[in-house]
């Protein structure tokens, strides 16, 4: 079992490493999938593993992307300093927002996270001097790695792929740890966890901060990838996209959000080239998924494989 898992991970890493062979266009597309997959995985830690229905996760993604870009454009900081600053600020913001939001649970929690994230969006729209508002902020210079500029598409791809592998490894470790077991316990039965003596609120906040920090990491990589940010990335729609990615792929699994992100983005590019109102299509698919495939695409695969093994 352990051996097979190691082999699977090895194959996945090799496949990631081989992507640039497929050309710049494909590599760029997969790099985008990987950036948003980190974002979706970080949300899945909350939705899928801890049972926290966060509807404002874009706040932490966007905040970090802005921090990296603003530090770069206005202060001339290298992205390599911007990245940890972005992650730290996102985690700190998640701590503040989470501190208030975890006071309620279930649906009020959902409404509050959504409301708070909209605050971040409104600030980015209003604070034009710094954020560029809806026009966005251009002029970010991608940093270099060992003398290789990230302006080179292949280098950029490898940095993002390495970031993805790191985030995947980190979240896997968190979920496999005793801390992860507590998160899952809260998801399964919060009242019982409290009765057993766990300070549930504190662990919810920890999950929220970890989720926010990893979302910040993906936001920073997005700033590297795009070299341009606008208030769009703080908009509620992006939080919504991430929820669709998680649910479509399968909440509460590691692979699910990655698969969901790939499906979502490919669908977006494919449908939007043929049909202007692609949200209609995505919304319809999402509704069908919630009704008929609540475990998600990857969840279905896992179920089928388990059923096949039993026979």
């Amino acid at each position: 079992m352990v051996l097979r898992r190691a082999v699977l991970h090895g194959v996945a890493l090799l496949a990631l490493a081989a992507v640039p062979l497929a050309g710049d266009y494909t590599a760029g597309l997969i790099a985008e999938v990987l950036v948003f997959a980190i974002f979706a995985m970080s949300l899945d830690l909350l939705i899928g593993y801890t049972g926290l229905m966060s509807f404002g996760h874009a706040a932490f993604f966007g905040l970090s992307a802005y921090v990296v870009t603003i530090l770069g454009v206005h202060l001339g900081w290298s992205g390599w300093w911007g990245l940890p600053a972005g992650v730290a600020l996102s985690a700190a913001a998640a701590a503040v927002v989470g501190y208030f939001c975890i006071r309620v649970s279930g649906i009020p929690f959902l409404m509050l996270t959504m409301a708070f994230s909209q605050l971040f969006y409104s600030v980015s729209v209003r604070w034009r001097d710094v954020t560029g508002g809806t026009d966005g902020l251009t002029g970010f210079e991608r940093p270099a790695l060992f003398g290789l500029s990230l302006d080179d598409r292949t280098t950029l791809y490898y940095v993002i792929a390495a970031g993805f592998a790191l985030a995947y490894w980190f979240l896997r470790r968190v979920i496999a740890s005793p801390l992860g077991a507590i998160f899952i316990g809260i998801r399964e039965n919060e009242a019982r966890m409290r009765a057993v003596g766990f300070p549930v609120q504190r662990f919810k906040l920890i999950a929220f901060v970890i989720g926010g920090g990893v979302a910040g990491f993906s936001g920073a990589l997005y700033a590297f990838f795009n070299a341009y940010v606008s208030s769009e990335i703080l908009h509620w729609a992006l939080s919504g996209d991430a929820i669709i990615m998680v649910i479509l792929g399968g909440a509460g699994t590691m692979i699910g959000p990655v698969a969901g992100t790939a499906i979502f983005l490919l669908l977006k590019y494919f449908v939007s080239t043929h049909f202007q109102y692609w949200l209609l299509v995505v919304g319809g698919i999402f509704i069908a998924c919630v009704m008929f495939l609540p475990q998600g695409v990857w969840g279905l695969v896992v179920q089928r494989v388990a059923a096949w093994k039993r026979t």
Partner: protein
């Protein structure tokens, strides 16, 4: 002094519009334990329908009279065909479903009416302003305050004085016991859902001359309504009404006197409420 009076008045107007949104939101939440994320979409839909009907017929009143119909019909379909099938599952699946509909409605509205900003003219009978104690109050806004108050009164009479309203209240308190007493809770769900989104659409229609009509109106009205529901407490009409006026006033006064911090004022209010009374002004702690 006049300026303060005008600002207070504008806050009252905005509060009444918020009430038309949050009354349905709060009722649906209280009864079905579902937050209808697409509630703002119905508000937007009502506004667009009102503009379209007003253009076709030339009459604001006809527009107002029919603007709620498509929303109620769509709401009934959403509840009967989609939401109902998920009642056996958790509430979050139902919330996700309404969330999926926001995407569908956003693009449907954009498809039918395009992305441009539209406006609805105030009807001739309500144009102009009246002077009260040296301050000018636009008649249409006075009408809005009266309209909101009338809807609030009607809803209160319905919930508090009618047999159907008593059934709704019973189901809000304890839907299982209500069902045991022979109340058709499932049908009640559909009725309240349709009523709630109909009110939202009506709100969108009367708000159109004040707030404008555009794609994106859904989220702009949804977020403050969420804050109202959090502050007022879920499932409480009284809470929704008081919190709506409160949020409307605070937001308007904040924008007038602290324009740089206006965004934060309402959130500050919400944070204070969360720290002191996490279940809202009139909310009941539920397991």
């Amino acid at each position: 002094m006049q300026i303060v009076a005008i600002q207070l008045f504008n806050g009252l107007v905005y509060g009444m519009l918020l009430f038309l949104m949050s009354a349905g939101l709060s009722l649906i939440f209280g009864l079905m334990n579902v937050v209808n994320i697409s509630h703002g979409s119905f508000f937007m839909l009502g506004a667009f329908v009102a503009v379209a009907v007003a253009q076709a017929t030339g009459s604001f009143w006809v527009a107002l009279a029919v603007a709620w119909i498509p929303a109620v019909a769509l709401g009934a379909v959403v509840e009967r065909v989609f939401l109902r099938t998920l009642y056996a599952r958790g509430h979050l699946d139902q919330v996700l479903l309404t969330f999926g509909f926001t995407f569908v409605f956003t693009d449907l509205v954009r498809w039918i009416w395009g992305p441009d900003f539209r406006s609805l003219d105030v009807p001739a009978a309500l144009q102009g302003a009246v002077e009260i104690a040296g301050a000018l109050f636009p008649i249409y806004r006075l009408f809005l305050v009266g309209f909101g108050a009338a809807v609030a009164l009607g809803l209160w009479l319905f919930l508090d004085r009618s047999r159907l309203g008593a059934m709704v209240r019973a189901a809000v308190d304890d839907s299982a016991t209500a069902a045991g007493l022979g109340i058709n809770v499932s049908l009640l769900f559909a009725g309240v859902f349709a009523l709630g989104v109909g009110l939202a659409a009506l709100g969108g229609a009367v708000a159109a001359p004040v707030l404008g009509v555009y794609s994106g109106l859904d989220i702009d009205i949804l977020i403050p309504s969420f804050i109202v529901v959090v502050i007022g407490g879920t499932g409480s009409l009284r809470g929704a009404f008081i919190a709506s006026l409160f949020v409307g006033l605070i937001d308007t006064l904040g924008k007038a006197y602290f324009p740089d911090f206006a965004l934060f004022v309402v959130y500050l209010l919400m944070v204070v409420m969360l720290l002191s009374r996490p279940h809202g002004l009139f909310g009941i702690a539920r397991a």
